[in-house]
Amino acid sequence: MVDFSLWDIFRNLLLALRWTVALSLIAFVGGGFMGLLLLLARLSQSKVLQIFVKAYVQVFQGTPLLMQLFLAYFGMALIGIETSAWLAASVALTLYTSAFLAEIWRGCVEAIPKGQWEASQSLALSFSEQLRYVILPQAFKIAIPPTVGFLVQVIKGTALASVIGFVELTKAGTMITNATFKPFLVYSCVAILYFALCFPVSYFAKHLERKVKRGHA
């Protein structure tokens, strides 16, 4: 059995970390775009669209991410798409992110005082003009902290992609543990690396939240 040094372990984990970051960004950006579309559908006058988005959000928030990953993986295979773990994870995490971001952003829009709607309505602005020029700009400002905060959830979510075989940080950790028989050391390193990714983002989100609060005081 080859003896692995701490640096060997760390080096391999760092290589896998790239894929964690890549998957997180794909899900966050893709989910962001989709989330925006979902938000607009939710805010639209169409009852059908509203119900659809409500149900969509309820499903993604009320079911385990692990199940969503499995369903993406096996579901896509079922309809004939050639699935890799990478593709399935991207699809599942993007949909997951879109649901949560749409809901977070909806909360921010609803936090805008009713008076803003009434004032812009009284100025004869159309619904989409009200949204575009009055409501969304204000909602955007207060949406930044929780959106940045959700990025942490996405990064943590990528760890589950290991279960469907995607070689990101957690999967690398499992593989290296099997090779080195040093689970305590390896999983400690894995945890430290996730912490190094997530903590700055969490801290930044808190900082943004304080800034927004101060701006309103």
Binding site: M67, F74, F184, A191
Partner: protein, 220 residues
């Protein structure tokens, strides 16, 4: 292209699914009770404790909140035996879920405690109540009531997260679904049924907690 879906062969294995659901409910129940108790204790220490205790609680919370649950689970189940602590999958699952829930619950409950109007505490002091009596009888019940929706959401997140425990062979619902599909090769159908079951459990759990909270924890 014809997709043939066969749910019957999955539903035929309903005893396994029921067993899985029972395990999921069991894990969640124990973790919720212990996790909330621990969360209350940690929240208290973050507000009232000495500096060393506050620092410890703060580090604990930040560590758990910035690492994935699956890594925490693997650390408890695979990593701790290296220190001589061998755990069963169920034990490891409960411990990991308790640690996870308590870290999030601490922050949520702390927000509730810190929102207590000063006048309430002064009234308690004026009535000669001791600090621990003021915390238990005057501060905590309204605080829990205020943050209950956030706590309920967090408990549901932990319940859904228990699906990961199947990876260390805990016989909960996702493990049951996996076992079924390994036998009848109906992976998609198995996981659809498991997913719908989780959705139902989540909705039922929310109802249950919204009924139990006012009844047992904070008055009305």
């Amino acid at each position: 292209m014809r997709i043939e879906l066969d749910f019957i062969s999955v539903l035929a294995e309903w005893p396994m699914l029921v067993k899985g659901v029972a395990w999921t409910i069991g894990l969640t129940s124990i973790s919720t009770v212990v996790g909330l108790a621990l969360g209350i204790a940690l929240a208290w220490s973050r507000v009232h404790g000495k500096l060393a205790l506050r620092a410890f609680a703060g580090s604990y919370v930040e560590t758990i909140r910035n690492t994935p649950f699956i890594v925490q689970l693997f650390f408890v189940y695979f990593g701790l035996p290296a220190l001589g602590l061998r755990l069963s999958p169920e034990m490891a699952s409960v411990i990991a879920m308790v640690i996870n829930l308590s870290a999030y619950a601490t922050e949520i409950i702390r927000a509730g405690i810190e929102a207590t109007p000063k006048g309430q505490i002064e009234a308690g002091m004026s009535l000669a109540l001791q600090p621990h009596q003021i915390f238990t009888h005057v501060v905590l019940p309204p605080a829990l009531k205020k943050v209950w929706p956030a706590l309920v959401s967090q408990i549901i997140i932990v319940m859904l997260g228990s699906s990961v425990c199947g990876q260390i062979s805990t016989e909960e619902l996702s493990h049951a679904a996996n076992l079924i599909q390994s036998r009848n090769f109906r992976a998609f159908e198995s996981f659809i049924i498991a997913t719908l079951t989780y959705l139902t459990l989540a909705m039922a759990l929310r109802r249950l907690l919204n009924w139990a909270g006012p009844r047992y924890l904070f008055g009305r």
